[in-house]
Symmetry: C2
Subunit: 81 residues, 2 copies
């Protein structure tokens, strides 16, 4: 069966997110003042052929560890829909 697995990769909370800070400045310049903070990460949709949901999550986890996420700077979260 094909599972649609979603991996959300965000910069670690402890680290400054320069892209997010730039967008925050841009929003304020556009007059949107009520945004207090912006953090920008990646959202990756994987279509995975697997026997069951657990296997799909294990494959996504392996993909995140081996290629997609940088554990020094990022944290990832996997979900299946």
């Amino acid at each position: 069966m094909t599972y649609t697995t979603q991996i959300k990769i965000m910069p670690l909370k402890e680290l400054l997110d320069p892209q997010g800070k730039a967008v925050l400045g841009g929003l304020q310049n556009l007059g949107i003042q009520s945004v207090a903070d912006v953090r920008i990460g990646k959202h990756i949709d994987l279509q995975i052929e697997a026997a069951n949901e657990e296997e799909a999550i294990a494959i996504a986890e392996s993909a995140a560890k081996k290629l997609l996420a940088n554990p020094v700077m990022e944290v990832y979260h996997i979900s299946v829909s």
Copy 2:
């Protein structure tokens, strides 16, 4: 109150996603064969000061339209957590 609003921005289904195709090739080179398709988008967390959830969503929608998403190539989805 501060609402954590999440905006997921993905390339339109109709369009080729070259970054996703590159990652798909990379995964196959690493021996992960069961991934059939990859699409890569952005995930943006906004901390929004608003009176209620509806107002927070409206502000996030305005931010997505005015700055974050490109309607010609991308589709966005807003959620509050």
